[in-house]
């Protein structure tokens, strides 16, 4: 089937303003969902689900969260890791205090805590912008990291100082804890990520998304057309941190099954920022591309040489990843500052007019 929009006339504005106005795109999304919900669970082994798909989805969600703030609203944040941490610790406290409520509800609810903290550290955006604001988010990063280590109440006074994920069931099926299968956890993560991506896409395509982008592109002009900058920025902090918080809670409860504060260190913030950059600032689909590239590249680097019989030390593989990722970031910025998502768009455009060049 050709990728064409010819003959797809829109007879009303609602149809033209749909998120995917082109039929082929809608079919594509449906196919991806079928693969994700049916094919992967059928063929997937533990390795595929647990080592690749679950983390890929979680990182994608965190990247979407950061993208809403940095890519759509233009506020650079270096505190993503800490905001994810707030979600994880909030979820632990919630499920400890109310053990009988469904864990998935708490995973989502923990996003609100992270939201509140995000707004708190977003308050300086009233006065400061750009790099200066990035330093404010660094304050959040280091302060929260310190809290995660220094306040034993947060990790339930566990001897190791780490979050230990308790067993929680949903209709008799273990959802979290050591006995939960990777399939259950995968489906839970997938559902949350799909739903939240859909919501994010609704937000950015509507009034709020336009307000965010106005602030990003030209904040003074945005103010003069009646957008209240401070509120808009805080809303971006709130929504973004919500996404990061949920991603953090999922990371600990549905992937690691237990984690120390280090997981939410500044390195995590940078990693997610890179995903956003490589994927493309201000695109949701780019968040998935970026997450795939940055998360899966190291795994590939570990596995592929081994398959060809070239032994490569795990440490060397990791260092090589750093070199390659670093170089890739620069190459991407040089070749296409708008990231993988832009390449994707160009590809689609080419396909649309194929076989003609223009």
């Amino acid at each position: 089937m050709l990728y064409r929009e010819v003959g797809q006339y829109k007879s009303n504005y609602a149809a033209d303003m749909a998120v995917f106005p082109i039929l082929q795109d809608r079919i594509g999304i449906a196919v991806i969902l079928v693969i994700a919900y049916v094919v992967f669970p059928l063929i997937g082994n533990d390795f595929l689900l647990n080592t690749i798909l679950i983390p890929f989805l979680i990182f994608s969600l965190a990247a979407i969260g950061l993208n809403l703030l940095t890519g759509y609203t233009g506020l650079l944040s270096l505190g993503t890791g800490a905001f994810m941490g707030v979600g994880a610790y909030a979820c632990l406290k919630l499920t400890t205090i109310f053990p009988h409520v469904n864990i998935l509800i708490w995973i989502l609810a923990s996003g609100f805590f992270s939201s509140a903290i995000g707004v708190l550290f977003g308050l300086p955006s009233l006065r400061i912008k750009g790099f200066y604001l990035a330093v404010a988010t660094l304050a959040a990063q280091f302060f929260l990291e310190w809290c995660f280590i220094r306040i034993p109440w947060l990790y339930n006074y566990s001897v190791s100082g780490a979050i230990e994920v308790p067993l929680r069931t949903f209709m008799g099926i273990p959802m979290t804890g050591p006995t939960a299968t990777s399939l259950t956890r995968y489906l839970a993560v997938l559902t949350i990520v799909v739903a939240m991506t859909w919501v994010a896409s609704n937000i950015v395509h509507g009034r709020i998304g336009r307000m965010w982008m106005s602030v990003r592109d030209m904040d003074l002009a945005a103010e003069l057309i009646g957008i209240r900058l401070f509120r808009t920025k805080l809303l971006a902090f709130a929504v973004s941190s919500f996404y990061c918080g949920v991603a953090g809670a999922m990371m600990v409860f549905l992937w690691y099954g237990g984690a120390e504060a280090e997981v939410f260190a500044i390195d995590q913030s940078f990693l997610i920022l890179f995903m956003v950059i490589i994927g493309g600032l201000g695109t949701l689909i780019g968040s998935f591309f970026g997450s795939a590239l940055i998360y899966i590249l190291p795994i590939a680097l570990r596995l592929i040489p081994a398959n060809f019989g070239i032994p490569i030390r795990p440490a060397a593989a990791e260092q090589l990843t750093f070199v390659i990722v670093g170089a890739l970031i620069i190459v991407f910025l040089v070749v296409e500052p708008n990231g993988l998502a832009r390449l994707w768009q160009i590809g689609k455009q080419k396909l649309r007019v194929w076989p003609f060049p223009y």
């Binding site: 998120v19 336009r210 982008m213 103010e223 057309i225």
Partner: protein
């Protein structure tokens, strides 16, 4: 300063009046005791040599700069200074000398963004993009499409504005200001850098806006021909002071104005 001319009585009531406005930046005086008014339905030009304080004046009117002294009366409300949000809310829209478009957004989104004040559907509906939120989007889209038709930019509806040529960007910016359905439209050099044809188009749009929608317009422009043809009344600034105020013909004959423009020495 000359006495008010007789034809002012024919004009509408005062929409905006600035009185004795002074503005300085750390010792540099940008405006000194400037007073003038803008009446409902007119096209008012602000002219003057470079650095005369014209843009500063517009910035004071829509609240981007806070003057150190003076009063601003808008729609009967007297205040010492405007705030950008209050100005937008009160119906003052604005275009900029150096373009202040949202470059990463499409033409459509830019103009839709101009409807920000008129869209109210809550956060919850926005999350779902369904029901009232979608309905609202469609309603405003309809209104925006009228503006797009009016400005003849339908072909670039879905193009990112950062990639458009300058003249079209100017038009999109005008579109965004019109989307606010303003009572007072401030245009800062709407024709700067345009060729003759583009200038003619832009003049036509300005006149149409003024006549079709009854929008009051205040504009800064360097092209004297355009100013004299378009405007009902002209205020002339030089070194931050008002040196003349009146109809184009009156201003053209004013000695101070001639001196300011030609640098005549005595």
């Amino acid at each position: 300063m000359r006495a008010p001319s007789s034809n002012e009585t024919a004009l509408g009531e005062v929409l905006l009046a600035v009185e004795e406005v002074s503005l300085s930046f750390g010792g540099v005086r940008a405006l000194t005791g400037v007073s003038f008014d803008i009446r409902k339905g007119e096209i008012r030009a602000i002219i003057g040599p470079n650095g005369a304080g014209k843009t500063s004046m517009l910035n004071v009117v829509n609240g981007f700069y806070q003057p150190q002294s003076g009063r601003i009366t808008f729609k009967g409300n007297v205040r010492n200074s405007m705030r950008p949000y209050a100005a937008a809310r009160g119906g003052i829209a604005r275009t900029f000398q150096n373009l202040a478009l949202f470059r990463g957004m499409t033409t459509l989104d830019n103009i839709l963004a101009g409807r920000a004040l008129k869209m109210h559907r809550g956060f919850f509906w926005q999350l779902l993009r369904y029901g009232p939120a979608l309905q609202e989007e469609v309603e405003h889209r309809r209104r925006v499409e009228e503006i797009i038709d009016f400005l003849e930019i339908a072909a670039i509806r879905k193009v990112q504005v950062g990639r458009l040529p300058y003249g079209l960007q100017k038009r999109v910016e005008l579109g965004r200001a019109l989307a606010m359905e303003p009572d007072l439209l401030l245009l800062d050099e709407p024709m700067a850098g345009m060729n003759l044809e583009e200038k003619e188009d832009m003049s036509r749009f300005i006149i149409d806006v003024n006549q079709q929608y009854g929008t009051t317009i205040a504009l800064i422009e360097h092209d004297m021909g355009v100013v004299m043809d378009l405007s009902d009344r002209v205020v002339v600034l030089d070194y931050g002071r008002k040196i003349a105020d009146g109809t184009p013909d009156e201003v053209k004959r004013d000695k101070d104005v001639i001196r300011a423009y030609l640098g005549e020495t005595h």
